[in-house]
């Protein structure tokens, strides 16, 4: 989809401090990092959708966005709790969600993008949910039994997210002149973050090799086909000539993530002993 070379970390930057870089030779580290990626994607997008609660264009849409956010937070709880167990340092899902800083987050750039208008929110949802559904379908066969069971459960919810967002992309794209322009702009904003979803870096490769993870390259063609099909129905030309941006999986994020975390983490960081 992208025709220009990506913008990645500078060659002399490791993204994270060298001490904390995961040891890819150790399967436990690979599983920990892989679970963080899955958990952080769901957590950050769930938090983003939560921001729309009470602000969506209609009450039905408000319910849809909050409920999708709820599904995603549920997934994040499973992935991050398990990540904490695998890490074995006494951290649970809450401490991973609320006590890590930007550089330690492993989510992709797509999910941290701002909501913008409703079209932009739906463009992001469509591009992500389509990918997440294809990924979870494969993770149902993960060699990690827990990961496989969460995937089997979550895939049913995500299928709904995919359907809902695809319908909105079509409805807005093939709607009025104004809604068409907004959906085109929304996709234009989000498009450069697609290639990162299909990046197979060292952790992703190791996870796929040992059967924990999935090789995302195997469903790239399916993804492109589904997306271009929906865009065709929406009468929208795919954006062109964008430079993909990479690095989220290695802790390199945009300006937006810090602002999300500031809101999300304020309470547990201010009152560390608070329980709920």
């Amino acid at each position: 989809m992208a025709s220009l070379p990506p913008i990645d970390l500078p060659s002399n930057a490791s993204g994270k401090g060298a001490f904390d870089a995961p040891a890819t030779s150790d399967e436990r580290h690979v599983l920990f990092d892989y679970l963080l990626r899955l958990g952080d994607d769901s957590l950050i997008l769930g938090q983003r959708l939560g921001e729309t609660c009470g602000h969506a264009p209609s009450v039905e849409v408000d319910l849809s966005l909050s409920n999708m956010g709820l599904d995603l937070i549920g997934q994040a709880t499973h992935f991050l709790n398990r990540a904490g167990e695998v890490e074995g340092k006494g951290r649970d899902g809450d401490s991973l969600a609320f006590r890590r800083d930007v550089l330690d987050f492993r989510n992709c750039w797509l999910v941290e993008q701002p909501n913008g208008d409703f079209a932009q929110t739906m463009a992001r949802q469509f591009l992500f949910s389509t990918w997440q559904k294809l990924l979870l379908e494969r993770l149902m066969a993960s060699s990690d039994a827990f990961l496989a069971s969460v995937a089997a459960k979550a895939v049913k919810e995500v299928a709904y997210h995919h359907e809902l967002s695809a319908e909105w992309v079509i409805r807005l794209g093939d709607g009025t002149e104004e809604s068409h322009r907004r959906m085109t702009d929304g996709l234009e904003w989000m498009w450069r973050f697609i290639p990162e979803l299909f990046e197979m870096d060292e952790i992703a490769q190791r996870a796929a090799q040992c059967g924990i993870g999935a090789d995302v390259g195997l469903f790239r063609a399916d993804y492109d086909r589904i997306v271009s099909d929906v865009l065709a129905q929406a009468t929208i030309q795919p954006p062109a000539n964008q430079r993909p941006i990479l690095g989220g999986r290695r802790g390199h994020h945009g300006e937006h993530l810090g602002h999300i975390l500031a809101v999300m983490q304020f309470l547990p960081r201010t009152y560390p002993d608070a329980t709920w």
């Binding site: 769930g46 039905e60 849409v61 319910l63 849809s64 409920n67 999708m68 956010g69 709820l70 599904d71 995603l72 937070i73 549920g74 997934q75 709880t77 499973h78 709790n81 039994a145 827990f146 496989a148 069971s149 969460v150 089997a152 459960k153 979550a154 049913k156 919810e157 709904y160 359907e163 809902l164």
Partner: protein, 161 residues
Amino acid sequence: MVAGKAYVATEVPGDGLERVWSVLATVADPEIPVISVVELGIVREVHADRVVITPTYTGCPATQVIERDIRAALDEAGFRDLHIVTTLAPPWTTDWISAEGRRKLHAYGIAPPIPAGERDVKCPQCGSIETEEVSRFGSTPCKAQWRCRDCLEPFDLFKCH
């Protein structure tokens, strides 16, 4: 989360497992109080030492309330040493909602999930099949918002899942 300590087998008081099931049958779903957690298919297994439950949706906020309510009902009935274990596999499906549960949903004004092979959504108010979807998501993750074109009443549809 299940407590990490090892289970110490104790004798279950009363008449055993049937009594546990009947206690569980009195625990209502917090979101749809006319239907019990047994009828909803949340209770998967009952053993001498544990009750196995499964969440409906991954992020369903009622999950914790349900576990708390089950705990309270079991404690009240004297089953204090029964553990509550949560399992994710196999994933919950609306196929597990019992026939009685479906009837109660309908009577309460929620259209039950449509069995495979059927397409018509029946209005729980007037029984018409002239109905249409208003929104994919309703008041909870498990429901969609529908409307009847005959009696014009809006209603919830329990989504097939």
